[in-house]
Amino acid sequence: MSRMRVLLLVVLALVLTPLLVASAQEYRIGFVSAITGPASSLGVPERDVAVMIQKELEGKGGITGPDGKKYPVKIFVHDDESKVDTTKRLVKKLIAEDGVHVVIASSQSPTSLAVVPDATEGKVPLISMASSHAIVTPIKERFWVFKTPQSNIHVSAHQVRYLLAKRYTKIASLYVNDAFGEDSRRGLAATLKDSGIEVVYEDKFEQTDKDMTPQLTRVKASGAQALVVHAIPPAASIVTKQFRDLGLTIPLIHNHGVGNKAFVDLAAGAADGVIFPIGKMLVAESLPDADPQKKVLLDFVAWYEKGTGKPRSTFAGHAWDALQMTLAAFAKVSPGAPLAEARARTRDELEKVKSFAGTGGVFTMSPEDHVGLDERSMVLVRIEGGTWKYWPPEKW
């Protein structure tokens, strides 16, 4: 009896807890990433960056607005559980209840795509940290939407350039059966069109699969001269391990999904010799000094590794880029302005971002391009002795 009453009271207290009323004179950012659920390996580093930046801003007392005065910045960090409906609800809340000026959401392409209509209807700038090109195209319907990761199309451009340079004509392609693998596979197929290179074998595997030997055996039998894999670890590592175990010797080309320490650790020695295109963060140290991103990358890596104790992560970089561009845009927008106006102004400023050297590349946004990156944001990398080495064309 009394148990029930206590339970009821607790539930009631939970539901009725009043919301904090935000003060008007501050900048507010809504930040949603996949902290739990299948995409947590993306969302956790992203969240860590948001929390670290929030702490730093608190220490500094905020950022300087256009009137020369300092204003605090509040970042609302939420977990979308890797679920579409949760992401949508959180974004609704951030827009309507927390009155944020910018929404940064979310880690995966489906969750990001799902909230595009909410941002558009609510007239709030949205920055996604997911890669699918569909998030920012067609640009006419994506007036309010930006994203920071390189589009998969840049990835395949690098892969195909390498294949052409090596004069391969027959390749095999394996991809993980989710939105990421599917998008990446389509990107490769589109770039391969009219290149004279033929995909002689194509198959997929599940992210949770532990044995890809059947697919690899067929790759071996297909006579392909190179294998392109579109996946993220652990599946990507398992493919690589079993690729070596089967004694395959053709070049193994991955995509940016393997740009993390986990891939190398998990594949152990098998990762050596793997080639893949990626943003420059992984090879920051070995970039030529003239590279415009070298300094910002080295600084970010040092900051992130010190702050979290974890190895560098490109996903963390996507969050960092989104937040830094937002903060830069805020500096030209008065937080005291009416919300709708401040949001619109922030969006305009985001679209004006020019030559901003971030971790993902040098961003130059325009009304026609809400990613602002081109192929130069990526380089081809080769794994040697368990670490990544910048691999310029002259070494091919």
């Binding site: 947590s40 044995d211 398992i238 175990d245 152990a268």
Partner: protein
């Protein structure tokens, strides 16, 4: 992974014990202990966790219906996974094989060295379970509880203590499974759900009451998945595995090796 079913409850948290076992071993790896000692410690730790969880969650609700108990194990599963996420983070960890080296060739087939370990461990576990259930007093009482808790109680067995034993035992076995499999895959905080699901299917295929049946079920499942993986598009292998489970249930509702209990009717 079948012991749980002896208590008459489907335990959704079973896979998490496998994850915990492997994770604890990864963490012990930094201490530079000899491998066998580390493995023993990890298994012991998880066994204790299993027992503790039974006392805290199942025991207070022991009189509730099976559905209630299943929901409790789901709650445990969710929390344990959350704690693992907090403690170990999202990055998967590699665990070196017990005996490194190139895969072995047996005729035309290729088997990894870790695969041999898995087979060996399974055989040993099976032998252990057989001896335990058939030749020890504790094992016999455990079986008695599964078959008929009421009459077991009447003959002086305490089912609630048996439930504790069963939980701890299966947690330990789960940990062993996780540790043996981990070098082949990787250790990540969310490996449990998938492993647990597979474990059930194997157990169901084999018939719930019989550990040997579960092993045969597991082997069958693995062979089947890989055969379909080789014959058709690899993506369909999971679907085929479940379809076969379906068919087995259709034609032999008591599992492949379960005794037909309908008897009288």
């Amino acid at each position: 992974m079948t012991i749980y079913n002896v208590t008459g409850i489907i335990n959704f948290a079973q896979g998490e014990f496998a994850m915990l076992g492997a994770m604890v071993l990864v963490s012990l790896g930094s201490l530079d202990l000899p491998r066998p000692l580390a493995v023993a410690l990890a298994v012991a730790a998880v066994t204790c966790v299993g027992g503790l969880l039974e006392r805290v969650t199942i025991h207070p609700a022991r009189r509730a219906s099976p559905v209630t108990l299943i929901i409790i194990t789901i709650g445990v599963d969710i929390s344990v996974r959350g704690i693992a996420l907090l403690v170990w983070g999202t990055d998967p960890y590699p665990l070196p094989p017990f005996t490194p080296g190139p895969p072995l060739r047996l005729g035309g087939a290729i088997i990894t060295r870790q695969g041999v370990w898995i087979l060996g461990t399974t055989a040993v576990t099976l032998a252990f379970l057989y001896l335990f259930f058939e030749h020890t007093y504790a094992g016999k009482t455990l079986r008695a509880c599964a078959i008929n808790p009421l009459s077991a109680r009447l003959s002086g067995i305490r089912p609630d203590r048996m439930s504790l034993c069963a939980f701890a035992l299966s947690a330990g076995l789960g940990a062993v499974a996780g540790i043996v499999i981990a070098p082949l895959t990787l250790v990540s905080y969310d490996m449990g759900l998938h492993l647990g699901l597979r474990g059930f299917i194997a157990a169901i295929m084999g018939g719930l009451v019989n550990p040997a049946g579960a092993v045969v079920g597991a082997l069958l499942l693995a062979v089947l998945e890989n055969l379909t993986g080789g014959l058709f598009r690899a993506a369909y292998k999971e679907a085929v595995a479940f379809l076969v489970l379906f068919l087995i249930l259709f034609f032999r509702p008591q599992g492949l090796f379960g005794r037909n209990r309908r008897g009288g009717l």
